[in-house]
Assembly symmetry: C2
Homo-oligomer: 506 residues x 2
């Protein structure tokens, strides 16, 4: 249906809205039958440009014959000050009707999910609309078809990298909040002759993301061309995924999920599988840490999630295996980018074999068996052999060099200049190291922004400690941050002791 | 816990954000451990002003030692260009944790609802957060306690008007999309000696709101002092509620509900009861129109909603009675502000007694019986008597005069200059006049912005029409709008005929 239009004068605002937003005088909006947050069609007849966008209204900043345009929109329309534009009401996009359906409890079709993802990608949905959609998904969930459609749509709206080698394999950890297994898995797997182009995230809520830790050793901002080149030559890469745009819509979705910590399982699975599909992965191992206070709190939930991962992977043409791991205890002893990188390099250098090394070899084993590299049941031993032989260290050094070396030996990794040792107030046995509290300390000390800041744990579960023995050390670039962390350490007591005497009765 | 802070230079942006929003350089945000949409505390030490707000991040518009402030925030902090501000991470507000609880399926306490409403009122929640909350309420609903708490919170955060007369009564229609019963109920009830300070809305989705129609006859923008004066003197008033701020939080909630047409029943009930409580209503009648395509589609749903209204009203100290009415057929014959005002004035002048008059007298009857003005079962007759006697017309003229008269007789209400008569293509009997389609036509013709535009229905259900007989007339201020409406009229056929021959078999 053709709509009634008005000719209005452009009034560009020199500010980015991050989206396409226009502003109309409240009375002009009413004349066009529009309400704030409705959509309009704007046409620059002269330049033959036409676009649709969301409006807001005002009765102060604009005159009645003006239309306010934020930078992105003014640029798109090539509209300068007082330029004449034709403005009319636009219908609501199909994707909005699909979101309403989801809100009201119906499942939606693949085509509907794809139209929603396309409109998210081109910024056609407002924050309010996108937040309502993700809240509906959070509450109502996605069924298998919806999850597959979301994975396909995310991948279709992102960049793809095609490799001339095979098999491409991958590893992903769900909500793992510490432990840099990726930095061990990649060199072991690559040393075995498989190809693993691993993209990782920076930390949002933990003391270090894999990309933050790897950045201590090498450059992690790499182009798609470099990803292809390094993976094909070295067999592996560990880089920051943010610049690659494998699933750019995912970033926009995560942005609105963040304030309320929404994390619908179907969306998480779709996002992981989409990124694996974008690089053509054939075999994928998923690490699902289980524990109180984690995303997945028991084995039953973990198994259910594992099955969904496998099913969605199969529909997207890849073989997935999921491993449930214990997330309640720290993996490794480090919290903070440099400390975690050092922990990893020491393992590769053969200095020790801790629970992080154990877990990493188990994940590699699954990939080896999936890819037919070893017989069933022999993957773990094969991985451990590669690690112990020093081949994984050599491979890591080659990868570091290819990405742009910073440091390639644990000895050369520096810590922040200020530190504080937190000691036991009495003797006892360590019952539990609270991962979340240790991460909180590392963050207050400056991690992950200050790469050399963090917390190094000196004890582990079951370990006997004397009074005055060092429990952990806090590192910081800044005296004030260190003092804040020490203060929190005394209050939160992240290392819990076994209570030998539960109660004294006298 | 004390947080690490940085001293940054203020960079005010001369633009209103509608909310308190600050912008940090992405790297500065990371240094403070902040993520986009996190909250910060900003302190202007010099002026001893401290406030918390939501941030966004940039890596272009700002330098690393700057903080961008939109107008509202710059004004609040009294911060000029390059003014030094101390900035640190702030915790998330309690209300956000309560919203998370609701999202995850728990019911929330009265105190939690009150804290959410306070934070909405002071613009502490972002669009994303508020949209997530209303979506959760849309999907999960409010129980009785939550609804009462919301009604109390809405009313506590708004203006109250205290009258020195009694009893105060009120009337509300849920999602009524046409028919100006209010403009008949108020003069009849006031003529009977009760007090009815009726606040009404302007149209968002229909051809006219009560405030739009009443504005044809009188001024509807009145101060709280005027509301008190006119109600106490004349017994009634019909005004626009927007300027009174009886439940300002409601407007902010409706804003985020609008794009996805969310309308959680608990929120609707809370909003209506809150506004009635704000003016001290003792007796309230609720009109619940029922019909396909309406908010309430069957009697069972209608009864359930009625019971909730009564229960919430009781907890807020008022007696509520709800009436289920037929919403599938038009009330009156008019769509558009001036046409609906004319319809009402003609009824008051005694020209006819149509289904709008019938419904209005029934609503008045309920109020008369609730307030003890008549015996049970006699309210309707008493209302009809007042209407027929001309006392309601006199009262309406007094109210019009008190509010600021424009027109007080149906003869003087003008229609728009351009009109088109839509005629029957064949003879037949009218099966149904589709209210939604007629409203759509009236809106395309210019209503409610153009007050004299609209659609006048010439036929009603069961009415026999000859070929070429006038079905309805479209009025418009503008030839182009009229042409668009005519085009839609031919396509959408809002008046449906009885199909005498369902099928021809030959």
């Amino acid at each position: 249906m053709e709509a009634y239009s008005l000719e209005l004068k452009a009034k560009p605002f020199a500010i980015n809205a991050g989206r396409h937003i226009a502003i109309l005088h409240a009375e002009t909006a009413a004349r066009l039958g529009l309400h704030p947050l409705d959509r309009i069609e704007i046409q620059n007849r002269e330049k033959k440009i036409r676009t649709a966008t969301v409006i807001d209204t005002t009765d102060t900043v604009l005159k009645k014959d003006e239309i306010g345009l934020f930078s992105e929109l003014a640029e798109l329309l090539e509209a300068e000050d007082s330029h004449r534009l034709e403005v009319s009401a636009a219908g609501i996009p199909d994707s909005l009707n699909s979101i309403k359906k989801k809100l009201n409890g119906a499942t939606i079709t693949s085509e509907e999910i794809k139209s929603i993802v396309r409109d998210i990608n081109s910024n056609k949905l407002s924050d309010i609309e996108l937040s309502a959609f993700m809240t509906a998904v959070h509450i109502r969930g996605f069924d298998l078809n919806e999850t597959v459609a979301m994975a396909q749509a995310l991948s279709e709206n992102g960049r793809k990298i095609k490799f001339d080698v095979s098999p491409i394999v991958d590893k992903h950890s769900i909500g793992g909040i510490n432990g840099r297994a990726t930095m061990l898995v990649v060199p072991i797997v690559a040393a075995a002759g498989l190809y693993i182009p691993k993209t990782s995230s920076r930390s949002i809520t933990s003391a270090a993301g894999t990309a933050d830790s790897m950045e201590v050793l090498a450059n992690v901002n790499l182009s798609a061309a470099k990803v292809k080149e390094i993976t094909e030559k070295e067999g592996g890469i560990i880089m920051w995924g943010g610049s690659l745009d494998l699933a750019p819509v995912d970033d926009k979705i995560i942005r609105v999920e963040y304030p309320l910590s929404q994390n619908p399982q179907g969306q998480v699975i779709a996002s992981v599988i989409a990124k694996k599909a974008a690089v053509g992965s054939k075999f994928v191992v998923i690490d699902i840490p289980i524990g109180q206070g984690m995303k997945i709190s028991d084995r039953q939930q973990g198994s259910a999630m594992a099955e969904k991962f496998i099913a969605v992977g199969r529909r997207m043409g890849m073989r997935v295996e999921a491993v449930l791991t214990d997330g309640s205890q720290p993996s490794g002893n480090a919290f903070g980018p440099a400390l975690e990188a050092k922990n990893v390099m020491q393992i590769l250098e053969g200095e020790y074999f801790d629970n992080l090394a154990q877990k990493s070899c188990e994940l590699c084993g699954v990939l080896f068996e999936l890819a037919g590299k070893t017989e069933a049941g022999q993957g773990f031993d094969y991985a451990k052999k590669i690690l112990k032989s020093g081949k994984a260290l050599t491979k890591m050094q080659q990868i570091i060099k290819a990405q742009g070396k910073r440091v390639n030996s644990s000895k050369k990794i520096e810590m922040a200049p200020y530190s504080a040792e937190i000691r036991a107030e009495s003797e006892g046995e360590v019952a539990r190291a609270n991962v979340k509290k240790l991460i909180e300390l590392a963050k207050i000390a400056g991690a992950p922004y200050d790469k050399k800041a963090g917390v190094l744990l000196n004890v582990e579960q079951g370990h006997a400690v004397e009074k005055g023995g060092v429990l952990y050390t806090i590192y910081s670039e800044n005296k004030r941050k260190l003092a804040l962390a020490e203060k929190l350490a005394l209050a939160s007591k992240p290392v819990e002791f076994e209570k030998i005497i539960l109660e004294k009765i006298s």
